[in-house]
Subunit: 152 residues, 2 copies
DNA sequence: TTGGTTGCAAACAGTTTGCAACGGT
DNA sequence: ACCGTTGCAAACTGTTTGCAACCAA
């Protein structure tokens, strides 16, 4: 499961009437570097500040909106109401689920496509054209299970 | 797939050191009446105001927190960042998914348990103890598909 | 010069919290 | 009298917006 290259995303931006500004390039760079970390807009902003201190939070939000619209990133929102952004994989669709640990709050990404068999069934039964999905398992991660055992 | 009775929920509240106040009873009543409608705290508040005009929004939030903690309701948060609350079914677990129409915003509930086969696989592969899940399909609902065809 | 883009500050919306008043036991 | 609960207003937090300045074509 490979990530897309910076270049291919940049091309997509430009060919969509969006300008490839330094701010947008830096944002993409941070997303690629800190891959798999499910960062919120604020966390991305903090990373960006290190490389580009003059950047504003609003710009980060605007850039993330564009990237979401173009399908470059996923926007996922958990029950805490904070939106987090992940780069999409190459090949694009449906390979992206989460494990959310209720103990430590960590988000693990799992790449298996668990729903290939299920989606056609749902489409047919409910006459609903599926474009995307969000699947998150809530539970206790391996580390926290061990920690709990240790405490007993 | 049956909903729980008002009485059984009331008993659970009382046996959990929470008082069964009129505000909490009314909130439960609204949830049972407007079942399947995926209401936000604000929407529940508006319904409550009709029957109990003196109620405050903070109380609604506090009640919904309790009900979530007790497992009486599900709290689901979509990408718009607004939390919505659904009563859990009788029998309790894992029978609850959503179809979110990207066209009209409507949320449809589907009751099939699509994940029974998948969960054991995930638990084993990632050593993750699954307690709950959230599965939402994003797409175009039947009505909007028809509408679109009509426009062509 | 035009039109998209930016940074800032203010506005916004959903949610939470501090607190005095309330009410059942 | 006690203690959980309530309604209100203020505070908080993540996100959006208005706007003047900016910048590349």
């Amino acid at each position: 499961m490979k990530r897309r290259s910076l270049q291919s995303i940049q091309k997509q931006l430009q060919s969509s009437s969006y300008k490839l500004t330094p701010q947008r390039q830096m944002t993409l760079q941070v997303l690629l570097e800190k891959d798999d970390s499910h960062m919120s807009a604020e966390e991305i902003y903090i990373q960006l500040k290190k490389k580009y201190p003059s950047i504003g939070l609003a710009t980060v939000y605007r850039t993330l909106d564009i990237l979401t619209e173009l399908g470059v990133v996923y926007k996922v929102t958990f029950e805490d109401g904070i939106s987090r952004y992940d780069l999409k994989m190459e090949g694009n669709e449906h390979f992206h689920h989460h494990l959310l640990c209720l103990e430590c709050g960590r988000v693990e990404e799992i790449a298996d496509d668990l729903l290939t068999d299920i989606e056609p069934l749902v489409e047919q039964e409910f006459q609903f054209k599926i474009l995307d999905h969000r699947l998150t398992f809530h539970g206790i991660c391996h580390d926290c299970q061990l920690k709990k055992k240790g405490e007993e």
